[in-house]
C-alpha cells in the first residue's frame, strides 16, 4: 500500500517472472517424472520453454475473428491476474503482488476470467470440437467449484476472514496450525476439486486428445498457443499458490513456496497417473457427491 506504484509494478513483474519460470519448470519436471515412472528417459525439464519458443517462432498464423484473437489474451490475462491477486509469499513486499485489490472471493472469481475468454475464443473458431470441449469443461467446472467453494467457506468459518494474508498468518507457528491439520476434511475436498481444476485424470475428458483433438484450443496455434502454454505454467502455479496459502500454511520464502507447490502438485500427478478417465456426467456426479459431502461435513463440524 505504501509502495510507490512504479515499484509495485516492478515487483509484480519480478514475482511474475519467477512464478512463470517455476510454473513451466514444474510442468517439465512432472513430464520427466511421468517418463521415469514409465521407464523412459523423457524430455528435459526445460522442454516447455523450448516448446514455447518454437510456438512463438511460427511464421504464419490465421485468425477466425476478433474473439478468436483475443481469446488467448483473455486466458493468460486471467492466469496472470489470478496470480497477481494472491499474496504469494507472506511478508515479502516483492511477492505480495496486487493482493490489496481483493480477498479470496476475488481470486475465486478471477479464475473464471480466463476460462470465459478462452471459451469465447474457442467458440469463434467455429470448430465443433472446441464447443464440445468448452461444454464439457464448463460443466465439469460447475461441479468441482462446489466442493472448492464449500471448503473455502469452511476456511472462512474457521478463520473468520476472507483475507488470504490473514488466513496464512493464522497458520503460522507450527506445522500443526496448517489447515491441512486443523481442518483436514476441507483440505481433502479442496484437493479433490484441484484434480478437476487441473484437468488431470480422471477428469481429463475436457481435453481428450483422441476424440476431440485437445478440446477448446484445437484451432489455436503459433503465438496464441504460446500464450496459452505460458498461461498453463502461470495459472497452474497460481492455483497451487492459492492452495498453499489456504491449506498448507503459506510460504515465508521462495524455497518454501517451491517445495510446497511441488508437493501439492504431486498429489494431482500421482492420482492422475493412476486413474482412467471419467465421462463428464460421471465426474459431475462424483464431484457433487463425495467431495461435496466431505466439505459439507467440514462446515457442519465447524458450525457445531
Amino acid at each position: 500500500m505504501d509502495t510507490p506504484l512504479v515499484l509495485k509494478i516492478l515487483y509484480s513483474l519480478i514475482s511474475l517472472a519467477v512464478i512463470t519460470i517455476w510454473g513451466l519448470s514444474l510442468g517439465g519436471i512432472v513430464r520427466k517424472i511421468y517418463a521415469r515412472v514409465q521407464g523412459r528417459i523423457g524430455p528435459p525439464f526445460w522442454q516447455p520453454f523450448i516448446d514455447i519458443i518454437k510456438t512463438y517462432g511460427k511464421r504464419t498464423a490465421v485468425t477466425h475473428g476478433i474473439m478468436f484473437f483475443l481469446g488467448p489474451v483473455f486466458r493468460i490475462a486471467g492466469g496472470i491476474g489470478t496470480y497477481l491477486f494472491i499474496p504469494a509469499i507472506l511478508g515479502s513486499t516483492i511477492f505480495s503482488n496486487f493482493s490489496v485489490s481483493g480477498d479470496v472471493l476475488l481470486v475465486m472469481y478471477f479464475i473464471f476470467f480466463g476460462q470465459l475468454g478462452m471459451a469465447l475464443g474457442a467458440g469463434e473458431s467455429g470448430h465443433p470440437y472446441s464447443a464440445i470441449g468448452v461444454a464439457r469443461g464448463l460443466a465439469q467446472m460447475t461441479a468441482f467449484e462446489v466442493p472448492f467453494a464449500l471448503s473455502i467457506i469452511a476456511i472462512v468459518i474457521q478463520y473468520h476472514t476472507l483475507n488470504i494474508t490473514t488466513i496464512v498468518l493464522a497458520q503460522q507457528g507450527s506445522i500443526l496450525n496448517w489447515t491441512l491439520f486443523t481442518n483436514p476434511l476441507a483440505t481433502i475436498a479442496a484437493l479433490i476439486a484441484l484434480l478437476g481444476m487441473n484437468m488431470h485424470n480422471p477428469f481429463s475428458v475436457v481435453l481428450a486428445p483422441q476424440e476431440i483433438p485437445i478440446g477448446p484450443p484445437t484451432e489455436f496455434h503459433g503465438s496464441y498457443l504460446a500464450l496459452m502454454q505460458t498461461n498453463r505454467g502461470i495459472f497452474n502455479a497460481a492455483k497451487l499458490v492459492l492452495y498453499m496459502n489456504l491449506f498448507f500454511g503459506g510460504a515465508t520464502n521462495i524455497f518454501a513456496l517451491i517445495i510446497k507447490t511441488f508437493s501439492i502438485y504431486m498429489i494431482s500427478v500421482v492420482v492422475g497417473v493412476s486413474f482412467p478417465r471419467f465421462r463428464t456426467d460421471q465426474s459431475i456426479k462424483f464431484f457433487l457427491f463425495v467431495p461435496t459431502l466431505i466439505a459439507l461435513l467440514a462446515i457442519i463440524i465447524l458450525v457445531l
Binding site: A35, R40, I50, D51, K54, T60, Q210, I214, H221, L225
Partner: protein, 206 residues
C-alpha cells in the same frame, strides 16, 4: 511483409460454398536473419510436434516411438492431435488418390515452418503398388518432402533416425520446403488436380 491481394480462383467449388472458405493466396514468409533464426531453428528442431498421418502401414510403426523402448520424447518430439499445432507431417506409407486429398488439406493447414517426413518406399516411387490404379507413386509431386525414410516398412529405429536427420536439416536452416510449396504453388496444384477428381475444396486450405 507486403500484403498480397492475389485471390485464388477456387473454380472447382460450387458457387454457394465459396463464401465458406478463405480465398486468399498463400504467401511465402522468408526466414529471419542471423542469430535469431538460428536460435528459433534450434528450438524448432528440439520441439518437433508430429502430426501422424496413418495412410498406410507406416502408421503402426509410429506408435512404438512413444514407448519406453524408443522414447522419442527425449528428443523433444511429441505427437500432436491437430495440424494447427504440429510442425512435422509424417506420411505413414503409400497414399491413395482418396487419401491424397486429405494429405494436401492437412499439409496446408499446418502453419509454417512445417516439415514433411515420408515413410517407406511407397511414398518415394509407389513401392509394391507402383502400378495400382489408385495409388500415388511419388508423394513429392504433390507436397514437398523434407526427408524420406526408406524401407518397406521402416522400423521405428529408422523413423527416429529420419527424425534426427530432419532435426539436423532444421538446425542448418535447410528445411524451408514450406516456402517452396508456395513458390511452386501452381505446379503442385496442377499435379494435385490432375489426380483428384472430386475436388470440392478451396485451392488452398488455410
Amino acid at each position: 511483409m507486403k500484403k498480397d491481394n492475389r485471390l485464388l480462383p477456387n473454380k472447382d467449388m460450387p458457387d454457394f460454398e465459396r463464401d465458406y472458405f478463405c480465398d486468399a493466396h498463400p504467401e511465402t514468409v522468408k526466414p529471419l536473419k542471423g542469430f535469431i533464426e538460428k536460435f528459433l531453428n534450434w528450438a524448432r528442431a528440439n520441439s518437433l510436434w508430429i502430426l501422424g498421418f496413418g495412410t498406410g502401414c507406416g502408421a503402426i510403426e509410429l506408435r512404438p516411438l512413444m514407448t519406453a523402448r524408443f522414447d522419442m520424447f527425449r528428443y523433444g518430439m511429441a505427437p500432436r492431435p491437430t495440424p494447427r499445432q504440429s510442425c512435422v507431417f509424417v506420411i505413414g506409407g503409400y497414399a491413395s488418390i482418396k487419401t491424397l486429398k486429405r494429405i494436401v488439406r492437412s499439409y496446408e493447414q499446418i502453419q509454417a515452418p512445417k516439415f514433411v517426413l515420408a515413410l517407406g518406399s511407397c511414398t518415394i516411387n509407389g513401392g509394391m503398388y507402383f502400378d495400382s490404379y489408385n495409388t500415388i507413386n511419388r508423394i513429392d509431386h504433390y507436397i514437398p518432402v523434407d526427408a524420406y525414410v526408406t524401407g518397406c516398412m521402416p522400423r521405428p529405429e529408422a523413423i527416429i533416425a529420419g527424425l534426427r536427420k530432419l532435426q539436423e536439416l532444421i538446425k542448418q536452416g535447410k528445411a524451408e520446403k514450406a516456402n517452396e510449396y508456395i513458390e511452386n504453388f501452381e505446379w503442385y496444384k496442377a499435379n494435385q488436380k490432375k489426380v483428384i477428381k472430386d475436388w470440392n475444396m478451396p485451392d488452398y486450405n488455410w
